[in-house]
């Protein structure tokens, strides 16, 4: 099973000195984690201040991705982030004040454990963050982006997209203020094309790797839509859009991590017992192939060992998956509601 290699055309070769940045949905956290320990020059543009220990830095989401943006699920969210970091878009949404008076950033509501102590602090941190994103776009050599969802909530006033429905992790849901959008293929392609244009405007040599998250939706806000059908729609749209973008741009590459995880050849064993989380065995398979195809000589391939499947024990698989591949997904907050 671990020998299956669905990678077809993949022209990009990443050398050890090339700066690789990541963003995307929660599955992208796996990619970031493996890139960091596989000999790549994993680029972090927004580092924790050195007076914070590495443990505390990680707990405060420094280094989870290349900047402290949290999960970016949709093409529109990415496009707007790029627009915001270039100071071309300033959403009207006010900061979210929590019941204890602390403050969350509506566009990365779970980025700061314990929240910000004031609106001023949140805005200062946001300005610092957006500057780091701009620097990241200028300095990276390769940008790996994992497309996660098509469903999103946006401001009715200016179209600003949120990573999670307002009211779940802060803010108050108001149907007059927030509207649901389920992106279509043309919308995803248009948003991504604009994001790529902004990236290449700042960094003409940047290369881009697109992947599609294999993690299914936890819930759907689409009217009268079952979550299974909503997942199929979302993943189909993203997969088609990724193909179109790759075909349209010679600097865009598609890596089939979605196919590695979801392919029926593995009989579903790359999913944990909760049928959403991806097991470490599956992630290792993806990253082994990535190293094989994306490095100049495949020399670092051995750094991601083949993960031997653990003997199946009652309730053990999910626990093992959690232990090994715990990632922060905002959708988990939906379960708390």
């Amino acid at each position: 099973m671990s020998e299956v290699d669905p990678v077809g055309r993949f022209d990009l070769k990443i050398t050890p000195e090339m700066r690789v940045a990541t963003a995307g949905s929660c599955f992208a956290q796996h990619i970031a984690r493996h890139l960091k320990r596989s000999g790549f020059n994993y680029y972090v543009g927004e580092k924790a201040h050195p007076i914070l220990s590495p443990t505390v830095g990680r707990a405060n989401n420094y280094g989870t991705f290349s900047a402290r943006y949290g999960n970016i699920y949709t093409a529109r969210q990415l496009c707007q982030l790029f627009d915001r970091c270039r100071l071309r878009f300033n959403p009207v949404e006010e900061p979210w004040i929590m019941p204890d008076g602390t403050v969350r950033d509506p566009f990365r509501p779970s980025i700061q454990p314990g929240n910000f102590i004031s609106v001023d602090e949140m805005e200062a941190d946001r300005a610092q963050h957006l500057f780091s994103v701009r620097m990241m776009l200028k300095k990276l050599d390769v940008f790996v982006f994992t497309l996660g969802l098509t469903e999103c909530w946006e401001s009715a006033e200016d179209g600003a997209v949120f990573p999670i429905c307002p009211g779940v992790e802060g803010g108050t849901f108001d149907p007059d203020k927030y509207t649901f959008r389920n992106q279509t293929v043309p919308e995803v392609v248009e948003d991504m094309t604009e994001a790529l244009r902004m990236l290449r405007g700042l960094n003409p040599k940047a290369q881009v790797v697109l992947t599609v998250s294999p993690v299914p939706l936890m819930a759907s806000a689409a009217p009268d839509e079952h979550v299974l059908a909503a997942t199929t729609y979302s993943k189909a749209v993203l997969r088609v859009a990724a193909q179109m973008l790759r075909d349209a741009h010679d600097f865009v590459h598609y890596f089939p991590s979605f196919e590695v995880i979801t392919g029926n050849y593995n009989r579903g064993r790359y999913y944990a017992d909760d049928l959403r989380n991806v097991t470490e065995e599956g992630v290792s398979h993806v990253m082994r192939l990535f190293l094989k195809h994306a490095t100049t000589d495949g020399a670092t391939t051995q750094k991601v060992a083949k993960k031997k499947p653990a003997p199946v024990q009652p309730n053990a698989t999910l626990e093992a998956a959690r232990a090994y591949v715990e990632v922060e997904c905002d959708e988990v907050a939906l379960d708390r509601e």
């Binding site: 201040h49 007076i51 505390v56 830095g57």
Partner: protein, 243 residues
């Protein structure tokens, strides 16, 4: 006779002197400087012996710790090569200037981790059969121009690094003491704030209480702390836990 056992550090030397000079104390006050690390250069009591001394107290005695809460000095006294700033509620972002913001909550979690990552503090509190207090180290001094700039602080050349801005040092201290208070309360003890008579309106250590270096308070401060302890000694263990 009621007994105070003070397990401290350099910041309790003024308390030791104050106790030695006090007349007619109706308590016995033992002030020891604990070596938190076996190879510590200064100190007169090994950590193992500190635990033993605590266990030897009776329920009527009072244990006073002054071992933690000094990160504001260790980390924050001098300018960092990567300048940073801390904000408190009400602070405008403009005050940061070009310094990098460290979110308050992130620094809070760092301080909490330092206090709780080893079992030393919780172990000391648990070892004592009596009320346990932790003294806040003296707050920062607003003006450090009197300090000899040719000296060094923990191996860093003061003249080269320069002292961190006074307001930043004060914010760091306030945050640290807030966390210390939370942790002590969670352990069933209590933190004792600096004597208010020794503070300026802004909360800095007032000049009459300065020792002749960047971080320490003097004998007059030690006397005020001793008065605080005598007042605290009247608190029952139940009251400490309830605080």
């Amino acid at each position: 006779m009621k007994r105070f056992l003070v397990l401290g550090n350099s910041h309790t030397e003024n308390l030791r002197a104050a106790a030695a000079q006090a007349d007619g104390l109706d308590v016995q006050c033992d002030v020891r400087w604990v070596k938190l690390k076996a190879d510590a250069r200064f100190g007169d009591l090994r950590l193992d012996d500190a635990f033993a001394a605590l266990k030897g107290l009776s329920a009527d005695d009072v244990a006073v710790l002054s071992l933690f809460g000094t990160s504001h000095n260790v980390i924050g006294l001098l300018n960092h090569p990567r300048p940073y700033g801390i904000m408190e509620p009400g602070d405008p972002a403009e005050n940061l200037g070009s310094a990098e913001l460290i979110p308050h909550a992130a620094l809070r979690s760092e301080i909490r981790a330092k206090l709780t990552q080893t079992a030393t503090l919780s172990g000391l509190v648990e070892a004592a059969p009596c009320p346990v207090f932790h003294l806040a180290p003296p707050p920062p001094k607003a003006d450090l121009s009197f300090v000899n700039k040719k000296s060094n602080y923990r191996g860093v050349d003061i003249a080269e690094a320069g002292f961190a801005p006074a307001q930043q040092r004060l914010k760091f201290w306030r945050l640290e003491q807030h966390v210390l208070d939370e942790v002590m309360t969670s352990l069933g003890g209590a933190a004792i704030a600096p004597p208010s008579e020794a503070l300026t309106d802004e909360g800095f250590l007032a000049e009459p209480f300065h020792a002749n270096d960047a971080t320490h308070a003097n004998l007059a401060y030690g006397k005020l702390v001793l008065e605080q302890l005598i007042a605290a000694a009247k608190i029952t263990p139940e009251q400490v836990t309830a605080q």
